[in-house]
């Protein structure tokens, strides 16, 4: 028994911190309907600010901590309240993209300033060790647990007793009514965001000393909070807090058990990934009636994507193909970048089919590509002809996509987004290193093809192979969009209820579209590996690797790139892959997430229209406004002047 105690102590103290972060997350979600994917990034921000004030400016830790809390908690909280208000009536994709964009943005800024390597943090709470019933407990741990318990208990009492606390409950149900009753819903929301953000920042500051300062790791660890929030069905604060402690304990004890039994294989990753698994399972088994979609259900009527005349489309396609064919003669040694870009066109197009055409959300798209890349590489290794191997990559991704359709059938809206996020993390952290995928070294050989007498293994030759595959994939996707299924998917994005009521089962549609998107992402993955000759699960946000953060970037960039099925895929790829490659190495990687994160936030706030569309559509919008009302139409013709004067 005694050997278990240290693990229990560590579990409870870490779990408390997860619980704190989770309570803050649930609080803001309940009051605004905006699920803040950037919650973890806020925690990291708090930790870094404290580090800045304490280590670089040289303030004593209480002052540094207070200032960090003020900035990352209070100031950011108030800003977020404004942003959340602006997002309230946006489409789901916009709401998810905005906070994912914020996550990408904050993380990008932190890495740009402090670098990607972890920085050591001196503990600030007392480290004195006490002997409690035969087990050593640090004062820091006791303070953490007590402080967080008081904060959460205080918040809970406040909710059940105080008037503003009750108002927070009311603002969820009917903000307008609350306003009529004399309590400003804005004040209530502001309070919720303020407390939620402070909890996030505080959790980051408390975690940093035991973890070291690492923007990615801190962000990821507060994703633990998602698991705890799921235990509390994204609604109950006490359950969420207890869920956090439970997860901390579970992870700690699992470490002990698996370490003790000397187990190997994917199960070794279990303790560190317990929260994601709990998150995913909780979303699969919680009765759907408990997973209430929070926030405004009155969503602005979506605008249709700008469409171009068939002749213009054909001309653009011809020009695009001509440009693509001249690329190898112009770009010289940069050609591999363009091959990557070409594969990314498929990735973006398949994500667009899922997100733009069908109105679903996926935060794990790169995981499908990873499955495709590793499968294709292994298939070539096993002696398959190259084209069959790439096809196999796509085919193996299909059941994975269909698997993701299970939560997609049960869940809608933000819960689906969260589930896909957890799904991507589980695949990456449990299976990337397995022998089915990249193996322990996270890299396997992925040779280029030898097709007949063609020199398809040179850069130029392989470029043409990838170009041909890309054109074929795009053609199929355009065909799908124009087919019966495409029409049903577009209808499905606008109103799933109506599609069901008209005789087509939307669950089948979901399985189909997730499978198709996964297939094409798998193909794209299969094409990516041979560019360098190695399919590698590179970590971090490097394009070409398969880290989950690439999924986040894909979504944010797609949102900026527009809604035309092919055009937006090309724009997205140019924005994400081609342009940054021309900036000098180091800087580009730094600035990518910052630029795309902020662009996605802006695009989401401005009604979900992409920037490209804004430029293309202002004239059309004016025309539409005119034809909308007969008066405006007449005014346009000049007939209305008399009436106005009268």
């Amino acid at each position: 028994m005694k050997e278990w105690l240290p693990f229990i102590v560590a579990g409870i103290s870490n779990g408390s911190i997860y619980g704190l972060a989770a309570v803050g997350l649930v609080l803001t979600y309940k009051t605004s309907g905006i699920f803040n994917f950037a919650h973890g990034a806020q925690a990291a921000m708090g930790a870094y600010l404290m580090f800045e004030f304490r280590e670089r400016v040289g303030m004593p830790w209480p002052v540094a901590g207070f200032l960090a809390l003020l900035l990352a908690g209070v100031v950011v909280g108030l800003l977020l309240e404004r942003g959340a208000y602006g997002l309230a009536s946006c489409s789901l994709a916009a709401r998810v993209t905005a906070t994912v964009g914020l996550l990408v943005f904050i993380q990008g800024v932190l890495i740009a300033i402090y670098g990607a390597a972890s920085l050591p943090v001196r503990p600030f709470l007392p480290q004195k060790v006490f002997d409690v019933g035969g087990v050593n407990v640090r004062a820091e741990q006791m303070i953490d647990v007590a402080l967080i318990f008081l904060a959460v208990a205080g918040l809970y009492l406040f909710f059940t007793k105080a008037k503003l606390g009750l108002a927070v409950q009311a603002v969820v149900d009917d903000p307008a009514l609350l306003g009529l009753a004399g309590t400003s819903p804005v004040a209530v929301r502001r309070f919720a965001w303020l407390v939620g953000s402070c909890f996030a920042a505080l959790s980051g500051m408390l975690l940093a000393p035991t973890l070291a300062l690492d923007a990615r790791l801190l962000t990821l660890l507060v994703f633990f909070a998602f698991g705890a929030a799921a235990v509390g069905t994204f609604s109950s604060l006490p359950l969420t807090y207890l869920g956090g402690i439970g997860l901390g304990l579970g992870a700690s004890l699992a470490t002990k058990i698996i370490g003790g039994m000397k187990l190997t294989g994917p199960i070794q990753g279990l303790p560190a990934n317990l929260p994601f698994i709990v998150l995913f399972v909780a979303l699969l088994v919680t009765p759907t009636r408990k997973l209430v979609e929070r926030g405004s259900q009155v969503v602005r009527r979506p605008l249709p994507p700008v469409t171009f005349a068939p002749r213009a489309t054909a001309a653009a396609a011809a020009v695009g193909l001509a440009v693509a064919l001249t690329v190898p003669h112009v770009v010289g040694a940069r050609l591999p970048i363009y091959i990557t870009g070409m594969a990314y066109v498929i990735l973006f197009a398949s994500l667009g089919l899922l997100v733009r055409t069908s109105g679903q959300v996926s935060l794990c798209h790169i995981a499908f590509a990873a499955v495709g890349a590793s499968t294709a590489a292994r298939a070539v290794g096993a002696g398959f002809p190259w084209p069959l191997a790439v096809l196999a990559g796509g085919l193996v991704a299909i059941p994975i996509g269909a698997l993701l359709a299970i939560p997609a059938i049960r869940l809608s809206g933000v819960y689906l987004a969260i589930a896909t996020f957890g799904f991507g993390l589980v695949i990456q952290r449990l299976f990337y290193s397995s022998m089915f995928m990249f193996g322990g070294t996270f890299a396997i050989r992925s040779p280029r093809p030898h097709l007949g007498g063609l020199h398809t293994n040179t850069d130029v030759g392989y470029y043409h192979v990838v170009l041909a595959v890309t054109v074929a994939c795009l053609a199929v996707m355009v065909l799908i969009r124009r087919s019966r299924m495409g029409r049903l998917l577009r209808a499905f994005a606008d109103s799933p209820t109506a599609v069901d009521a008209n005789g087509t089962n939307t669950n089948e549609l979901k399985v189909l579209v997730f499978s198709i998107a996964a297939f094409f992402a798998g193909i794209a993955g299969g094409l990516l590996g041979p560019i360098t000759g190695t399919a590698a699960a590179a970590s971090g946000i490097d394009v070409g690797g398969f880290d989950f953060s690439v999924s986040l970037l894909l979504l944010t960039v797609l949102f900026v790139a527009g809604r035309q099925p092919v055009f937006s895929a090309v724009v997205g790829s140019v924005l994400l892959v081609i342009i940054p490659s021309y900036a000098t190495g180091e800087t580009a990687v730094k600035w990518n997430p910052i630029i795309f994160g902020s662009l996605a936030i802006v695009a989401a706030l401005f009604g979900g229209r992409s920037l490209v569309e804004w430029l293309a559509s202002s004239r059309r919008l004016r025309e539409r406004a005119a034809t909308n009302s007969p008066q405006a139409e007449r005014a346009l013709r000049g007939d209305l002047v008399l009436e106005t004067v009268r």
């Binding site: 019966r484 049903l488 069901d500 009521a501």
Partner: protein, 270 residues
């Protein structure tokens, strides 16, 4: 079923919609309490009652959008229990929604065509789910043209639905339901948001549908003028219970109904 209702029934093959002992609970709230009603094929039956009486909940039970705690729903000789909304649609039960469920980014023609295409896609297997045959495309186009014609929205065919006025949108939703090959239609407050002129037009369209297609319609409606103009038989719900039923003229003058629901304004109309 009373003798009067039986007499009102016209000669038609269209199935009846039969609800028996329907009870729907949401937690502690009994939204619909042991409601039985029969909506005959070939005529329009009204379902009226104050807000919150359980009308839409009854509709949702019929089309499979909620799970009743007790009771059965049948279309003709087929029991609908435990089947998905899509299955019920394929069996021939179409509906519109009180809060319109339209495909806002698509054109009017596309919306109406999907009324038929979604039904066809649901009935076909394998590739038929994904791709339409040329013959099917022709059917969808023709049905859509016809339905838009009946609803008087042919001139709007190329407009985006999200840009239209409420009255026009109601007509698009009706046209979409008409384009489907339905044997019974449930219309949920189709005239709310329409002005007097539009409502009269709507009444004419509904009567035309029943005459032409011989199908049955169950109509939830607040507009008493419309109800009087088109319904042969009326059921009245209040607090989830059926409080009255009878031929249209009788119901609108019945004291219990006036007290529960109609109020002075509606009495004037009557």
């Amino acid at each position: 079923m009373s003798a009067t209702a039986e007499a009102l029934r016209q000669a038609t093959d269209a199935p009846d919609l039969v609800v028996e002992g329907l009870t729907v609970r949401f937690g502690g709230l009994v939204a619909v309490d042991n409601v039985s009603l029969t909506a005959r094929g070939g005529v329009i039956t009204g379902l009226i009652g104050p807000n919150g009486a359980g009308k839409t909940t009854t509709f949702n039970s019929c089309t499979g959008l909620n799970t009743p705690s007790a009771g059965t729903v049948a279309l003709g000789d087929r029991t609908l229990a435990h089947h998905s909304p899509a299955w019920r649609a394929r069996l021939g039960l179409g509906r519109t929604f009180q809060r319109m469920e339209l495909f806002d980014t698509m054109t009017v023609r596309e919306n109406v065509e999907i009324g038929r295409e979604a039904l066809l896609a649901g009935k076909r297997r394998w590739t038929g789910r994904l791709f339409s045959t040329p013959a099917e495309a022709v059917v969808c186009g023709q049905e859509a043209e016809e339905a838009m014609g009946h609803c008087g929205i042919s001139h709007l065919a190329a407009r985006t639905v999200g840009d239209l006025s409420t009255g026009q949108r109601r007509l698009v939703e009706l046209a979409r339901a008409l384009a489907g090959d339905y044997r019974f239609l449930l219309l949920d407050e189709p005239s709310s948001g329409l002005d007097v002129g539009e409502t009269e037009q709507f009444a004419a369209i509904l009567s035309g549908v029943v005459e032409r297609e011989g199908i049955g319609i169950l109509l939830v409606e607040h507009d008493m003028a419309l109800v009087r103009a088109v319904c042969s038989y009326i059921y009245v719900l209040d607090f989830g219970r059926l409080i009255y039923e009878g031929p249209a003229a009788d119901v609108l003058s019945a004291e219990i109904v006036k007290a529960a629901y109609l109020g002075s304004e509606a009495v004037e109309v009557a």
